[in-house]
Symmetry: C2
Subunit: 143 residues, 2 copies
């Protein structure tokens, strides 16, 4: 199995609210393949999608508990400087986004903060001086 | 905020069991930056990591419920043919991986199956004839 993935789909409780979060706050643009049932966002080599959690379970033929609260995963958006972390958090705060952890130096040598989306999916906004990225933001081999 | 992400970290209940799942069953190779606390896997332009769920919460300064069961998200690994889906599922079944949904034609025109990792994170193994990928498996603009 090749060492790659294609799509990350978050199961959300309200598609309209979640779409608005990613489009108004993150400033992301949905792709034209989006419709009333699912929203797609073209990222760096992968797709990100928002899908109602009930349909997500239906698609797999299982029942997924629609519990509230933080989800057991984080998605990181790495910046190219500490200042960029500060600027993003300042902007997201103004837009009313829940700041879970204020930007701060962390033990592994980086500078990190966390925000939450409407369902409690955690996004880490961080600068990691040890993680090389190319100009498009793709991570390079992490030795 | 640029339309991209850098790292997906799954909060897992047992790092050894989860690492073994991705390394033995998926055949993925951890990167040298991995240590006893966290495992990294270099994917296509992004990093995938496994981290104990308690530490994941600690890092964000919150408590994440360590409930069992399916997680409200799916990660898709798209193949280049229906046969490749069948072959992967056959191989994963032999290795003892839980097949949540057998490969089958689905309403959106693709061919899809689901497997679960030890914590209930769902992976969709699918062929989507409408989703163009380059030779490295990166998705191209999805119109």
């Amino acid at each position: 199995m090749e060492q790659r993935l294609t799509i990350i789909s978050l199961g959300v409780s309200d598609l309209t609210i979640s779409s608005k979060f990613y489009e108004s706050n993150f400033g992301w643009e949905r792709s034209a393949a989006s419709n009333d049932d699912i929203r797609f966002y073209q990222l760096n080599g992968i797709l990100f999608s928002l899908y109602p959690v009930s349909k997500l379970g239906e698609d797999a033929g299982i029942s997924i508990p629609a519990d509230k609260g933080y989800r057991p995963l984080t998605i990181a958006h790495n910046t190219r400087s500490e200042k960029e972390v500060d600027d993003l958090i300042t902007d997201l705060r103004i837009k009313g986004v829940k700041i879970v952890k204020e930007p701060q130096k962390v033990f592994w040598g980086g500078y990190s903060s966390y925000v939450a989306d409407p369902d409690g999916f955690l996004w880490e906004i961080a600068f990691n001086p040890f993680l090389p990225m190319d100009e498009r933001g793709n991570t390079l081999q992490h030795e």
